[in-house]
Amino acid sequence: MSRLVQRGETSVALGARPDPKAPDTWIVTIGEHHHTVQARRTGEGTLLVTLADGRTAELAVTRDAQRWWVTGGGRTTVVAEAEAAGRAHAHEGGLEAPMPGKVLAVKVAPGDRVAAGATLLIVEAMKMEHAIKAPHAGVVREVAAREGDMVSPGTPLVTLDREEDA
């Protein structure tokens, strides 16, 4: 079985199948590349992997909704399913609240033309103020939040049309 996962800015097909000829051996496909590796379970959620060049590492893998967390070889990496990343990108025009918090100030109104990085709103969370800035230049189409609103992740705040679209 193969899945599409994000690697940096692009997506890559990822799959693994056991080598029928050798125990504890897997053939892993990352895009065009094939890797023959030794692997066995160790503890709960952990895997001991030996690469073809002889390097070995125990990796802890945790499945999350649309991504995996991997710790091993001295770092922790998040691997996202490409499909999930794609879904998120579809939301690009609409800015949603990134965290639970309270809207302290709304700095823009519909029709405003804003530069990339311009402050759109100020949200307070964890006792700190955070400026929500425009990810790109554009024109504000809609402002859905008001000062004093309590917002949670996913609450729509502002719809911003791209400058080139506007």
């Binding site: 967390w69 991997v70 710790t71 690009e92 990134p98 955070h130 400026a131």
Partner: protein, 504 residues
């Protein structure tokens, strides 16, 4: 002293409880509704619900805390850091209730409680202070005039502040009004006091603080300094002991100044005198923290002490367990703070469930944590999850141990600054000891830190884990902790991608 109520949460409440238990003392945890199953509750021998999630309605409620102590028969209160730890009224109420207050006398807290008052006292005691204007009042125009007198850049700081809250750096006059207003709002929300003042911003200074300790028998010692220059938005990220910047003479002079500061207010218990040290080796009093400090473990490892145990002893009326001559440093210790925040998105706070949480275990590595696997991380409280501290015979030895331990720390389900901490520790300027308060701004562009894309090893592990069905078990287990309601969707709040940034 038989039963200690710990008026705090998170890692410091756990740390204090462990110290109490090691002495055979019972502990009482207090908790808000958001913390009913929090680690600090699970560590204590008794626990009392004190209110709803907002701190103002729970951890900051003096009446509820005193009632909890009464109800459980606690005979002493340890305030930890933050919350009410530097609240003189609370300390006084505790003493008036006939309980032992594990901290300095209310009068000492009060004397050092506002930055403005503390500065005046230190000036009187001959301790050097940073140029600043503290009597301009809270009118914006007056504060602007004060800034003009000092000259830019300036710092706007909350009088009752700490932890970067209510603090703003201002480079240009036109940004000053907005900064003052924001700082006043933050100060009001965090401390219930909107007072701010203006101070000269030193260029590339180091933040160095001296640990002091006093007792009720006239004893006062210092326990070396901590270098806390690695900060992001005035929030400390990494601390070490000793400072790589001090020579023996400067260390001695700063230690003496810190003890003088402590003696000026008849200080009892653990306290910290913060200084700024400029490039010329001149040092300025910044403030005194009349409580245990987050970063106290680096002092403990280098000086060979247990500061919490000493707090308990001194609160019981015992003399200091050490003389100044006995306190000899050994080796080097470095602490990093694990925050639930996303370095790739301007360090915005993150939330979620800790699907997997395994701190590294190795010689010379200490983990002081406030969370455990399966815990939910919310936005109600401070985003610091845990601290990791490495001791080594030398600074290089400590760095080597820390770097290796950071790589093995398994924190899954909640985005943290772990990768950022690794980048700081690996940075050549840090390895060279060239730390100053602008370190992060200088070496990490725009205060944003993007993780490297996944390596082959990680992708291989994912592919095989999925093919083996290894990760299905983990997902099932994640849900099982709270009834298997599949809440893992919630761990990914940052659905709006793109270039969202904080104003860091």
């Amino acid at each position: 002293m038989k039963r200690v109520l710990i008026a705090n949460r998170g890692e410091i409440a756990v740390r204090v409880a462990q110290a109490c238990h090691a002495q055979g003392l019972e502990t009482v945890a207090v908790y808000s509704q958001a913390d009913a199953a929090a680690l600090h509750v699970r560590t204590a021998t008794r626990a009392v619900l004190i209110g709803p999630p907002p701190a103002a309605e729970s951890y900051l409620r003096v009446e509820a805390l005193l009632e909890a102590a009464r109800k459980t028969g606690a005979d002493a209160i340890h305030p930890g850091y933050g919350f009410l730890s530097e609240n003189a009224d609370f300390a006084r109420r505790v003493v008036d209730a006939g309980l032992t207050w594990i901290g300095p006398d209310p009068a000492a807290i009060e004397a050092m409680g506002t930055k403005i008052g503390a500065r005046r006292r230190m000036e009187a005691a001959g301790v050097p202070v940073v140029p600043g204007v503290h009597d301009a009042g809270q009118d914006v125009a007056a504060l602007e005039a004060a800034a003009d007198r000092i000259g830019f850049p300036v710092l706007v700081k909350a009088s009752a502040g700490g932890g970067g809250k209510g603090m703003r750096t201002v480079e240009r006059r036109e940004d000053l009004r907005g900064a003052i207003e924001a700082a006043q709002r933050e100060a009001q929300a965090a401390f219930g006091d909107r007072a701010v003042y203006i101070e000269k911003l030193l260029v590339r200074p180091r933040h160095v603080e001296v640990q002091i300790f006093g007792d009720r028998h006239g004893g006062a010692v210092h326990l070396l300094e901590r270098e806390c220059s690695i900060q992001r938005r005035h929030q400390k990220v990494l601390e070490e002991c000793p400072s790589p910047a001090l020579d023996a003479d400067l260390r001695r002079r700063m230690g003496e100044a810190a003890v003088a500061a402590a003696r000026a207010v008849d200080y009892v218990g653990a306290g910290t005198v913060e200084f700024m040290v400029d490039a010329r080796g001149d040092f300025y009093f910044l403030e005194m923290n009349t409580r245990l400090q987050v970063e106290h473990p680096v002092t403990e490892l280098v000086m060979g002490v247990d500061l919490v145990a000493a707090q308990l002893a001194v609160a019981r009326g015992e003399p200091l367990p050490w003389t100044q001559a006995q306190l000899q440093p050994r080796g080097h210790a470095i602490e990093v703070r694990l925050y639930a925040e996303d370095p790739a998105r301007g360090f915005l706070p993150s939330t979620g469930k800790l699907l997997r949480y395994r701190p590294p275990v190795a010689p010379g590595i200490r983990h002081d944590g406030g969370v455990a696997e399966g815990d939910e991380v919310s936005t109600w409280y401070d985003p610091m999850l845990a601290k990791l501290i490495a001791w080594g015979e030398t600074r290089d030895h400590a760095i080597g141990r820390l770097a290796h331990a950071l790589g093995a720390w398994q924190v899954h389900g909640v985005t943290t600054n772990l990768g950022f901490l690794q980048a700081v520790v690996a940075h050549p300027a840090f390895r060279a000891g060239a730390t100053h308060t602008g370190f992060i701004g200088e070496h990490f562009e725009d205060g944003v830190f993007a993780p490297e894309p996944a390596g082959d090893e990680a992708l291989i592990a994912v592919a095989i884990a999925e093919a083996m069905g290894l990760t299905r078990a983990a997902a099932g287990q994640g849900g099982a902790g709270e009834g298997g309601d599949g809440r893992s969707d919630r761990v990914s709040p940052w659905r709006a991608l793109g270039a969202w940034r904080s104003n860091a």
